[in-house]
Symmetry: D2
Subunit: 248 residues, 4 copies
């Protein structure tokens, strides 16, 4: 409704301008110009819908200190709230094939412009905790299947490496081997599919190398080795914002 | 080629019959009768294509003593070789979502009439051996997705419960709990989707209760607690044959 | 000290009785009677110290509804509080080799008369949850080593089978296979070492078969599939009491 | 027995020498010289017994290309065969508490001078493959108990970090996290107990960084990611020899 109303007001305005200039134009010509201008204006006004597709880390991103909440504040502070809209689609315990099973409903049906895929922690962690982690080769297959489906809908993707399971910086966290391996798979998928990689794992490691001199396993960016504390959410929000800013 | 040739010979034969009877019929009428008859005859002659969709147990089914090899012999002995054709599509280490990922190519593209889905051992076993087993709820979801896809192609399905991981009969095999649970999921899926269940696990347990008085963990139906020996393959072949026979 | 004092008072009392009755007895005779009586009286007066050696289930046994608390009440109700004393030595997460590592301090140094060994749940459970369960053969070895050490101190042992991980009655709880196997190992150890077996697993299964018609996995005897609710603690307390009563 | 016999023959010989030289010495003086000489001669003649206490890697150390076989050759080449004797006590699949359970028989009863403790791979690996790895804190406890027992027998210990499970050099081998953690525990134990550390893991990583440019997971020092090939055995033999040489 409001788009039509805006287009009509613009038409009226332009019509008067042309009249004032005593320029004779057929109504059809004027109308076509108006419609073209209207589209341009609508395009620049339409909010970019950015969707975060992930697990409990993304679910918690919507809490008070969460990274999605923080992104909303950043956008507001930078006066860009009108240009961007954030949608969180995180479910606790999700692995890559859970995303695959719900991508139609939770992503495609939402018509997002950009999707951050932020998955992998449980694919590794559940190997240890439940015996139901994801084989590396299947991780890649389901991830590629998600990429194929979303790219076919012209959604721009950003692939994130999973953060941390344990914050020790000397690669002695129990699952560092797999975390590094699965991050490499995501890195390779980004390269192969021409997609931007957001290396959260690298950023978190860098932060810990500078701020975790005691080699603690939690408490720097996470509350419990995995789930982000406020600082961790801030790191993710800032890292994501750099990528988002260039796209809105 | 041979179908067309058969149809042509039938046409010629019928044409002569009609001629002998001095009945005048337009060629078109005769031809249409011939084609109709030809279809009926072809239908009864067309071999039923039966596909076994599974893991290493099915892969080994094609070996010398394998259950697929044995089924071929049974069909021959019972003079039904012309009516049925067996295709093995087993890959070692496969879990339910591996079947899901390859069902288009390995099942649908093969145009089978009947598909035995024989999966589940690795979904349970890999929890212990690699930490990458399948969560019970995901097992059900992917299994249902396979059912939906194959049923939409009018393929008749037979769902099999996974056999055994260990042959002890007192439910003290390490993975009996999960094997029973996943078998129940398959049983429920069969019921819910109106599909025939082939309870291999039940059959194997029954056999062991009668033939494994020492409560051994292998050597009765399996070589190594999981993979079938000749007797195990015979049990599967016979169990499958009962179901197949009614359908050809 | 108090024993000697009691013996002395008894001696004085008896001496007076004899004196009053004008019976002449040599001091030696009197003394020997006194000592004999004293022993009888001490024996009946000395509390049997019963120690429960286990994991979090035993740790929780000391809580308000816990089985050790309940045993204390039962002993009181049956007027046997003076004869028995209960000591809980349970530590959360303990496996058989944790008991082994702390048996000197937590059992032998406590001088108990009877020890209930109630272990095994974590040896099985941690296979799934942490990848650090106990191999069946090591379970047996460390258990036997505990038996050897405690028997060498003349402590009477009662071996308990571990209860449940999941209360479903159709052996479809994920870890039923191992729970049955480890229970069998304990049963065999009891037999081999001439020790009384307290088959808690059997009792719990029997109770569930009668009281869990919906095949629920928790809520009958446990709060969370493993840790006992009040009813579960009552079942354990009653089962233990039958064994204790015969020994005090 | 043989030492006493040798000492006696030496005494007889020396006695005759002194007699021939018509030198009068009291028997006591002669005897004391004999005993002194006997000790010197025994000391220089006694081979150092070096025992390798470990798992399948040590078991394989006795094969044709094994590190123990190679150590024997090195000792021979360097003309030190007479000074040193190597004993392999490796059993496939062993974890730290297996060593604990057999240390009396397999180490103490063997009277070694030096023991290389080379354990840890299965403590980590079995978490993944069987769910029966060793908790980090129990690993430390049992390891310390072994140290205490062997040190109390005046055996010199050398603690080795476990080699590798996967040879990739970027810490993306699935179990690198734990391997690094358990190596640190061993390092700390060495420090705390004043024992020499032999950092095999460090040596192998260094070798791979120089010789595994393709980041392969096996084939450089191992046949199968864990068990040493000839080159791996050579690396271990050389690393051990440096430590041994200083002690014989």
């Amino acid at each position: 409704m409001s788009r039509i109303f805006k287009a009509f007001s613009q038409f009226t305005l332009i019509f008067h301008i042309f009249k004032l200039n005593k320029i004779k134009l057929s109504m059809i010509k004027i109308l076509s110009i108006v419609i073209a201008l209207s589209f341009v204006s609508n395009m620049s006004m339409k909010k970019k819908k950015i969707l975060f597709f992930g697990d409990s880390i993304t679910r918690n991103g919507e809490l008070e200190d969460g990274y999605i909440t923080q992104l909303n504040k950043i956008a507001q502070l930078e006066g860009m709230s009108e240009k961007v809209e954030f949608v969180g689609k995180g479910i606790g315990g999700n692995k890559v094939y859970d995303l695959y099973l719900r991508m139609q409903e939770d992503v495609i049906a939402q018509n997002p412009d950009i999707v951050f895929i932020y998955i992998g922690v449980n694919d590794v962690w559940h190997k240890q905790s439940y015996g139901t982690g994801t084989d590396a080769d299947k991780f890649e297959k389901f991830y590629q299947a998600i990429i194929d489906s979303l790219q076919s809908k012209n959604i721009e993707l950003i692939l994130c490496t999973p953060g941390v399971i344990g914050e020790k910086t000397d690669f002695s966290n129990s699952l560092d081997g797999d975390m590094n391996q699965y991050s490499k798979i995501i890195d390779d998928l980004a390269l192969k599919n021409g997609i931007v990689l957001c290396n959260l794992r690298g950023e978190m490691l860098k932060y810990n190398q500078a701020n975790n001199p005691e080699n603690l396993e939690k408490g720097i960016l996470t509350k419990d080795r995995v789930h982000l504390n406020e600082m961790g959410n801030t790191l993710v929000a800032n890292t994501f914002w750099k990528i988002i800013k260039e796209r809105i």
